[in-house]
Amino acid sequence: MADDVREEPHVFPLGRKPGEMLFCTLMLVLGGLLIAAIGWETTWLEGKRLSAQPRFWPTISLVGVVLFAGLNWLSRSKVERTPGRWAEAGIWLRSLEYVGWYLLYVWAIPLIGYLPATVIFCAGLTLRLGYRGRAVWAAIGFALFVVLFFKSAMNVKIPGGALYQLAPEGLRYILLRYF
């Protein structure tokens, strides 16, 4: 098989991945529901030509989603399946844990400030990923670099933390402006 691939370069997948049919079904259902909502989620303006109707492009695109998803579903259903559909769906759901970490990080920035939030996020996530020792210190170093480069040097617009208001006046300005 490996030799076949080398003789005829082919980086695109040939088999059916676990969860592919589930994904196609979800897309088909979502596309169908959105098409059903076109009547009240878009407007038809009397006297305007078709190409200028606000409803025209949502309809074209959603029909495209349903049509291609349906055809994809049909064509993939003929390919030999790889077992593990629900295990794959489990992996999709497990990824939400990291999304949770991410949202928590963003939520914390206006409260405790960019520097502390970034240090806690990087170190915490590194520990969660199973790294210990030097890796955690590397994560803290990385967090400091990110804050110093983007917020302090590049002046990227990220709000100061409410916690910084508790600092003495001179220090407060520095914290709000640079960290």
Binding site: V65, F68, N72
Partner: protein, 499 residues
């Protein structure tokens, strides 16, 4: 000559040079890290460039775009893992050469071929620029609509084996750009009464979600793979450049494929390197060695993919039509600064266009010099564990999303697209059709509305020469795809009957 001196004036500034240096070296490093790639890096850096002047911001992005493939060749050759997806073919011959103890030679060939391809495309485009400047004003609303439609069509049909999935995802992209208050009659579309949907879904938020957040999730759910780096020794620059020169025919043809494929929206690096590799194999004296460490394979692949970035800037600058996701992201920088790419830019601000090409030329010189002397240092970055890299990407991506409007909603939307992109990557589905669907969908909606107000019959829509050519190309592309499907079915049927 006056044009050239005006272009040099535009870039002869410390901030442009700093952006060029940071972008090009940063691009090489990012390209050399498997699992990051130019798309992730550009998505992260993009919002930061909004506060810079267009030439500075674009130079930084061009630096990353133009140099990442140089860096991507390093892990492709040394550890059989392409740094960026377009270096995949380089692994076929690069890694076997490393196993034979010829890693340094393979790297040098890759750098030389990449440099040759890039310079070839820049020179070719400098000669083509006056021609393009004269053609660009012939593009009106209907031509731009048809060119965008051609772009979408090609994006879909060039995803061999995934045409239906690419069609579905391009349609998703076109739908996403319709959400919010539409700019013509100011009616709401698919806002579901939610205030935050009224302004639509921001392209940058989608880009960061689909490329950066999703990639971090991919790395988190993966296992760390220990990387054992081979000792490649010290480079012998002159000797290795002479070694490359033996393969100049393959490099020239490969670069030609790159220029042509780069200029056609939706085609890009993959197609060019396949064509180049197939040509090199067909015309080689040792075709049986392809895939087993034939230097021609590396030269063909790297020359072709590195000649694409300069060429891909052509439809973007001349017509405002991005051919793939990276140029789609760059389009955002133009819009933020109210610089409208298109025929007018090409006709009136040729010095700006030429300045960008000069930047591309400089970045290639910087990168190749950097690589010949810093490869062994750069190789150390490849040992960063996957999941630690995921943490770094997620931290960087926050800067992009959150600095836009300090909005938690934007971050939540980016996270949603991150999970969507993660699922797509798990399924090996392409993400670029979504981005191109968003950008080209908006363009098609605007231009069709304008064009249809001026035509009375369907024939009138294509009665101008360029419109007719574009329409014919779309028809040919669709018919060709249909023919390919029928051929594939016949082949399958004959195989089944043989069995």
């Amino acid at each position: 000559m006056e044009l050239l001196s005006s272009s040099i004036d535009l870039i002869a500034r410390w901030d442009v040079m700093a952006a060029l240096l940071i972008g090009s070296i940063g691009g090489v490093i990012v390209g050399g890290l498997p699992g990051v790639g130019a798309a992730v890096a550009i998505a992260i850096v993009l919002p930061v460039t909004f506060s810079l002047e267009p030439i500075v911001g674009l130079t930084a992005l061009l630096g990353i775009y133009g140099s990442s493939m140089f860096g991507g060749a390093i892990p492709a050759i040394l550890v059989n893992t392409p740094g960026t997806p377009v270096n995949a073919l380089t692994t076929y011959d690069g890694y076997p050469m490393t196993l034979r103890g010829e890693g340094q030679r393979a790297l040098s060939l890759a750098y030389s071929a990449s440099f040759y391809g890039a310079i070839f495309s820049i020179v070719a485009l400098m000669f083509l620029a006056p021609v393009l400047a004269s053609i660009a004003p012939m593009f009106g609303s209907r031509e731009i609509f048809l060119a965008a439609l051609l772009g979408i069509t090609l994006v879909i049909i060039t995803h061999r084996g995934q045409v239906l999935a690419a069609g579905m995802l391009a349609s998703v992209g076109i739908f996403l750009q319709t959400i919010g208050i539409e700019p013509s009659a100011y009616t709401q579309r698919f806002t579901f009464g939610l205030g935050w949907l009224q302004s639509g879904i921001n392209l940058i938020v989608v880009v960061l979600g689909l490329f950066a957040v999703s990639q971090a999730l991919v790395l988190f759910m993966d296992k760390d793979k220990p990387i054992k780096l081979p000792d490649v020794g010290r480079p012998k620059v002159l000797e290795q450049v002479r070694d490359f020169w033996v393969f100049k025919r393959v490099a020239t043809v490969g670069s030609g494929f790159g220029v042509i494929c780069g200029m056609i929206p939706g085609v890009g690096e993959f197609m060019s390197q396949f064509m180049s590799y197939a040509y090199a194999q067909r015309t080689s004296k040792t075709p049986e060695l392809f895939g087993k460490g034939n230097p021609e394979g590396i030269v063909a692949s790297e020359a072709a993919n590195n000649s694409v970035p300069a060429a891909a800037m052509i439809p973007l600058l001349a017509l405002g039509i991005p051919g793939e996701e990276l140029t789609a992201m760059m389009l955002a920088v133009f819009y933020v600064h109210n610089v409208v790419p298109g025929p007018q830019l090409f006709a009136n601000q040729m010095d700006f266009v030429l300045a960008l090409y000069l930047c591309l030329l400089l970045l290639n010189i910087i990168v190749v010099v950097f690589l010949f002397f810093a490869t062994s240092t750069l190789m150390k970055a490849m040992t960063i564990p996957n999941r630690f890299l995921g943490m770094m990407i997620l931290t960087f991506s926050l800067i992009g999303v959150y600095s836009l409007r300090n909005s938690l909603t934007d971050v939540a939307i980016a996270s949603g697209f991150g999970v969507f992109g993660f699922i797509l990557k798990r399924l090996d589905y392409p993400t670029s059709p979504i981005i191109l669907g968003i950008v080209l969908g908006k363009l098609m909606e605007d231009k069709l509305r304008t064009a249809m107000a001026r035509v009375t019959t369907p024939w009138e829509f294509i009665d101008r020469p360029i419109a007719f050519i574009l329409f014919t190309m779309i028809v040919i592309a669709v018919l060709f795809q249909g023919w390919t499907i029928i051929q594939a079915r016949r082949e399958r049927a004959s195989k089944v009957s043989d069995v």
